[in-house]
């Protein structure tokens, strides 16, 4: 019970902050146009499928 509790605290505290940092690193690519943009979600270099 104690072990499960402390593992939970680790996952929820440092773990969630690490994922948020991963998101910040990733969102730079989305909004920076490196991979795709938020209005189309497509790679700017690829033709539209529509």
């Amino acid at each position: 019970m104690k072990l499960a509790t402390w593992l939970s605290v680790l996952a929820l505290g440092p773990g969630s902050i690490a994922i948020f940092c991963w998101f910040l690193w990733d969102v730079k690519r989305i909004f920076g146009g490196g991979r795709s943009n938020p209005s189309t979600g497509r790679d700017p270099g690829k033709p539209s499928a529509d």
Binding site: A11, W22, R35, P38
Partner: protein
Amino acid sequence: MAPMSGIDYSIVVLYLIGSLALGAFVSTQIKGFRDYFLAGGALTTPLLVCTLVSSYNGIDITFGTSESGFYYGVVSWWWYSLPYYVFIALAAFVVAPRLSRFEGAMTLSDILESAYGTPTRVIGAAACCIYSIPVHSMAGMMALAAYVGLSPTWSFVVAFGVCAIYTVMGGMWADVLSDTVHFVLMCVSVAIAIPMAIDWVGGWSFVEHLPTDDVTGEPVFLQHHGGLNPWMLVAWATTGLTILIEPAFYQRVFAAEDKRSVQRALLVGILLWAAYDWGVTLIGMLARAAVTQGLLPDDLEGRSALLTLCVEMLPVGLRGLMIGGIVSAAMANVDTYSLLASANVVYDIYRPVADPQASDRRLLFLTRLGVFLVMVLAAALSVMFERMRDIWQFLASIMVSVLLVPLMAALFARPRPAAGLLASVAGFAGLIAFYGYLFTQGQYMPNEEVYMVQVGPVAVWQDYAALCALPVSLAGFVLGHFLGRRGVR
């Protein structure tokens, strides 16, 4: 109750203003219905982790799981939460890859139409809509406002006014980006609250103050079965099936940049879901031990256990963070499901039935209007239910009874159109018959706070609703498949 300070209020207000700014920014990026409803299909793994965890672990889980911990102990994690992770893994590795068969699908109802035709699509969309109306989050919000000493009406108007504005403006982009903040707030606030709560009730010796079995004296709060009968445990575990028909799951799969992003996100998500559920279950148990020790009032209700404990023991600042975390859980749930319920009506029902030529612009306008109306409806309905878990079980039972059989068959087989329609109708009829029989012939059990009816030697509890309706749905499916005509897929 300890009063909220100016710092606590400032944290909550800053958070609300930030959400509005986000909605305004993202609204400039929306060009059409697909951008609005599916974020253009551009969600990456970390975004998916944040949005899946925060939108599915909304206030219903936060309050509902701690409520179960308060009343039953660790059994609620073992038999209520754990089965979800098994079904989530199944969804990630078995269901998600099958969705590529339905090219162009944006909702769960698109899959149903592809397999069974428009009538089944409409029934499925209606069930999804009922399920998605965020009644539980609204009910949780009411409890929150009352406990922090705010006017329930005004705090409600402000919190959900903000939520409505940013969701109406920004759609799924506003939803998932705000979910990243919701995600961190809710996780970190629980991570901080757990050790402080343990310390507040006197350390790990709190287990000695938990209730024991009246007859045997066994510590049922610490046993995985909680002293409950096996059928009740199976009924609890069955609610995990809802993940296989969860509209938010399908929406996020369709919105993901690729299949592997979804699978990675769900695997990481399972760890976080398990940690979060364990944390709030433990806090519910800590609140129960605090009641026994006289630290919290005797008449404390389970649904308020987490909030009361945290507000009592957290210092200024952290209390605001915790309230912000719970508001976040509510908002993450409300924005996601209001958007889904609105799209169910506009895209899944209105468009194919009433206006097949509807322009993208018209769909976008109606969906935005629908988001607002869904939130108003949810607020009105939220006063009808006494317990968070009752709301969740009722909604989950509708989804499982109506959609599980036809949807799984559509994904993994080639059923005839009549099979899907009959399975949905029969499942719903079975559920109505179950509740009708239970409420007219059964009796209310004050200790368990649910209805129960004795059928011969078997005690049938309110929790068995989906378990009883599912075989009826399956029978309808088999009948429809063998008697119906072949359809063209």
